[in-house]
Symmetry: C2
Subunit: 139 residues, 2 copies
């Protein structure tokens, strides 16, 4: 896949996610996607590895069940061939408490046949857990 | 900066870090670097923002004081113009306990005048804190 095609699909994917158009997001996800959000599943049940489009959509639905995407600003986008890396500044509102969580997100993406086939997400999970719980962790 | 030049300098930087050639690492760092490792400073005193070459070298020295880089494998490298994103599989040995910490690292880099001017590092910090402390965090 050429970088220009990757560029278009990356923006389509993030635009759709930002406006909560999950149908469009779903359309860009490959049937056989290999997906990991790195984070503790005890606090974020939607974290961890997922395989296949259906399981990824369930994870995204679980995010949406607990959090509202308030903003998701792409700060850096790096594209080479069929791969992309995206660093974003995101704010999520926790539905249960109305608390706002704000943190940076680092994504590594790979596309195949015009769809997302590999996805890795990094956050400063220690900090985001503290924000989600509303108190500092004891160390 | 062309992608080919960025490619060469990225590999030079990571090769030097992997073989612990901190003089060579230092030579590739811009005087005015803007640097953040996202993580809790209570557990990782070398984390957080740093500005300027001198402070970054002190942070790297602080990492080396507590940890030995046992392996640092680049798994994904994405380069576009003067920017790069690198995902690595790293193992660090904690000097105080000989415990091995293993985790993935996501780096976003930007180069200027052939040197690293901007650096952001993401890890699954909740998990890495647990590995560093040798016990699970209470949530």
């Amino acid at each position: 896949m050429a970088a220009s095609a990757t560029h278009a699909i990356v923006h389509e994917l993030y635009d759709a996610y930002e406006r909560r158009d999950f149908e469009r997001v779903a359309a860009v996800i490959h049937d056989d996607i290999d997906w990991i959000i790195y984070g503790p599943v005890l606090v974020f049940p939607f974290a961890g590895p997922r395989r296949g489009r259906n399981d990824v959509l369930k994870a995204l639905a679980a995010v949406a069940e607990s959090y509202v995407v308030e903003s998701y600003k792409r700060e850096v986008i790096i594209i080479e061939g069929d791969r992309a890396a995206v660093m974003s500044d995101a704010s999520f509102r926790q539905r249960a408490t109305n608390r706002m969580l704000r943190f940076r997100i680092a994504n590594f993406l790979r596309f195949q046949d015009g769809r997302l086939i590999e996805f890795r997400e990094f956050i400063n999970s220690f900090d985001v857990v503290e924000q989600a719980l509303g108190h500092e962790l004891k160390i």
